[in-house]
């Protein structure tokens, strides 16, 4: 991790926040990265079109408050708690969570209370020791090895004995979860881990405290906080240092870029689980790319018109959010001249390490 983000850079708005989004490389890079950070994937074709002409700030507010961002936020939280596969919450109430989040009808604190109180979380973390340890570690960032008394108190409360836990009285598993999500460490710890995921660096302490206080006072304001982060000069600077796409982002982005749609949950799960089986998933990512390109389902993405130089230019902008260098353009045009088709051109771009970052 690259240290701490400078407070001034996080306070300052990005230089182009009021400017309309267009097709310039800087705009493409921003749209691509911010969509990944908000929706967990690259933009769909309709989303590219809809963004054109909107001011960056307006686009950020609309996207952060939309359903795609709510879905991605919820999925990432499920993954954080390892509530996946057989442990994925499947009741109607949980299926409705993204829509509720998008309508601001469910607060962060209440979502966490429901998730951690659910049968799915309980099954994932069976027994008092595991359950209380995971609650303390994952909701509050407490290291139980240093807080043995707190752990033991939590275990007594989990087992139904009246106990004081984190300074509050309770006598059940439900009390334990409620006390944890109402604890003063809940918001700072949540914001810190989400900030680090976005910036690969620590937030400035004062700003973290301010944002945590705001979230505590208004538990529905998470989208506003993330808009402020992504609209900052610090985020603009971050775009210059690409981060690796997680396997989850890669799968969703590949579907968006080649098939023009999102994967359904089963499609996503099958690909993600296979990628998780490798210490370096890139070779299998390349296999998935080849499968899609060979399948006939990516024909819309393969369609190209214009002269070879224009096609190469457009492909680089589309998938790497930058124009090709002269040498790259020449090499790709030459290869097209030797008979290479669009399939090979796309396969080279998408399997290259540059596409694996954003």
């Amino acid at each position: 991790m690259a240290g701490t983000i400078a407070a001034a850079a996080l306070e300052a708005p990005a230089s182009a926040l009021a400017a309309p989004l267009g097709l310039a490389p800087a705009d493409r890079r921003f749209l691509r990265a911010a969509t990944i950070d908000l929706a967990g994937r690259t933009p769909l074709p309709d989303e590219w079109k809809a963004a054109q002409g909107l001011a960056r700030g307006d686009w950020l507010r609309a996207t952060a408050g939309g359903l795609a961002a709510a879905e991605s936020f919820y999925e990432e939280e499920l993954f954080y708690f390892l509530l996946i596969d057989n442990f994925r919450p499947s009741t109607d109430a949980f299926v409705a969570v993204p829509e509720l989040l998008a309508k601001r009808g469910l607060s962060l604190r209440e979502l966490m209370r429901q998730l951690v109180s659910s049968q799915f979380f309980n099954a994932r973390n069976p027994g008092n020791d595991t359950f209380v340890t995971v609650v303390l570690e994952q909701l509050l960032g407490i290291t139980v090895q240093k807080e043995q008394a707190t752990l033991e108190a939590g275990k007594r409360m989990y087992d139904g004995y009246p106990t004081s836990f984190l300074g509050k009285q309770g006598a059940s598993q439900a009390d334990l979860v409620r006390i944890a999500v109402e604890h003063e460490s809940f918001e700072p710890f949540f914001l810190e881990r989400r900030f680090v995921a976005l910036f690969d660096a620590q937030p400035p302490k004062k700003r973290l405290a301010t944002d945590a206080a705001r979230l505590r006072a208004d538990p529905l304001c998470w989208p506003d906080l993330v808009v402020a982060w992504l609209g900052s000069a610090a985020y603009e600077e971050r775009l210059a240092k690409p981060r690796a796409k997680s396997d989850r982002v890669f799968v969703r982005s590949l579907y968006a870029d080649l098939l023009g749609r999102q994967p359904d949950y089963q499609e996503f799960r099958r690909c993600r689980n296979a990628l998780l089986a490798l210490s370096d998933s890139r070779p299998l990512r390349s296999v998935l790319i080849k499968l899609m390109l060979d399948s006939g389902t990516a024909d819309a993405a393969l369609a190209a018109t214009g002269d070879p130089a224009t096609i190469v230019e457009e492909r680089f902008l589309q998938f790497l959010a930058r124009p090709p260098s002269e040498a790259e353009r020449a090499a790709f045009v030459a290869e097209l001249g030797r008979g290479a088709g669009q399939k090979l051109l796309l396969r080279a771009l998408l399997t290259h390490s540059e596409y694996q970052g954003y």
């Binding site: 690796a244 296979a274 070779p283 399948s295 790709f332």
Partner: protein, 388 residues
């Protein structure tokens, strides 16, 4: 514990530990020419280390030869350490300990890397091997990838192993992906050459923190495509299929990449908690797959006189059956805390049993020494009376 509560070694903070590790790595680099000069000339050029894990008692392997005829083939022509000490650190921690040479106390739901460098990192760094030179074929689910490398800054991802969990890819779930998009088509020679030229012409975005360089990634991609299109690995099913796939994949990797170090990590024997009979079936099936590897090595002119095999469980199991007619692991008995380690190779004694004290964490420094590298942070020692 360090300031953030992370476990440390011998009371040293994690940060301090990592700094020390980096310093030791520097010392190791300086000592390399000296070590090379002092290293005995060995015939061994490749090592296959099989973690016959999931908790396996010696009495169910070398104590019941009918269960493991292939393991006995190794034992008869190799060295057996019947009293190899092990620690019940949980399957993940105990297996990781063998790879790092350090007892690894991993947490309750650990799905993160250890702090210490693994044998893969020692070998790749000192021998300057590409990632195709060090592989782990595992059946550990999502924990598998954590074996690739540790968090010590002196080593890390650039020296990590290529880890593949065959049951995670060559399975029904992924077959459904193939069903959706169609079976992969093999590349023609011209097409593949053109692809490589195009990839090579792209300037930006060098892989950050990746195990493989571009060339190795391309080779691994081709290997996966070959497995999917022309191998029988995906067809392996039934109880213990995960372990069987890990061994089968390891054999294929050995033939294709000829790595300096190939490790295999098994887990299915843990079915013993619920059924002793199912546990024995897993042992028998794994022995059968081990026999395939042994046959392949012995029939390969390049491998047969240059490959050493080690087979060791991470720990044993309880002495007595539980109420379900299964075997747990927690009674503190010798059945749990002592396992049989078997070594077979061109530089080892033949048909010997060594009763001297040894430990499963000795495997890391032993493999390192055999390959002519140092393992400066490993706490084990080289297995005694091994070399012929």
């Amino acid at each position: 514990m360090d300031a953030r509560g992370n476990p440390t070694t011998d009371g040293v903070t994690r940060r301090g530990f990592l700094k020390t590790g980096a310093a030791l790595a520097g010392v190791a680099a300086l000592q390399r020419p000296l070590l090379a000069a002092l290293a005995p000339a060995t015939k061994t050029k490749r090592v296959v280390l099989v973690l016959f894990a999931g908790g396996v008692r010696s009495r169910d392997t070398i104590g019941t030869p009918a269960n493991v005829p292939n393991l006995m083939r190794l034992a008869e022509k190799g060295v057996v350490f019947p009293g190899c000490r092990s620690a019940n650190l949980g399957h993940y921690g105990a297996s990781l300990s063998i790879l790092t040479g350090v007892p690894e106390y991993m947490g309750i739901r650990e799905n993160s890397r250890g702090f210490n460098p693994t044998i893969f990192e020692y070998v790749r760094k000192e021998l300057a091997l590409p990632a195709s030179g060090a592989w782990l074929s595992a059946n550990n689910g999502s924990q598998s990838v954590n074996f690739a490398y540790g968090l010590n800054k002196g080593w890390g991802a650039p020296f990590g192993a290529n880890v593949i969990d065959g049951d995670g890819i060559f399975n029904q779930e992924f077959r459904e992906v193939l069903g959706q998009f169609g079976a992969p088509k093999a590349d023609g020679t011209e097409e593949y050459a053109a692809l490589q030229r195009l990839r090579g012409s792209i300037d930006g975005g060098k892989a950050r923190g990746a195990v493989n360089d571009e060339a190795t990634a391309a080779r691994v991609e081709k290997y996966i495509l070959d497995e999917l299109t022309s191998s029988a690995t995906s067809a392996i099913t039934g109880p213990g299929a995960g372990d069987a796939k890990a061994l089968r994949v390891a054999g294929n990797i050995l033939q294709i990449f000829r790595p300096t170090l190939t490790c295999v990590s098994l887990t299915n024997a843990d079915v013993a908690h619920g059924s002793y009979n199912a546990y024995v079936d897993v042992i028998k099936r794994n022995d059968q797959e081990l026999g395939r590897i042994l046959d392949m090595v012995q029939q390969d002119a390049q491998l047969k006189d240059s490959t050493a095999l080690f087979v060791v469980p991470e720990f044993g199991r309880d002495k007595n059956l539980n109420q379900r007619n299964g075997l747990d692991h927690g009674d503190g008995s010798d059945d749990l805390n002592k396992v049989a380690c078997i070594a077979w190779g061109p530089d080892f004694k033949q048909g010997k049993t060594v009763d001297a004290e040894c430990d499963t964490i000795d495997l890391c420094p032993t493999v390192a020494k055999l390959l002519g590298v140092d393992a400066p942070l490993a706490r084990g020692r080289v297995l005694p009376r091994l070399l012929g």
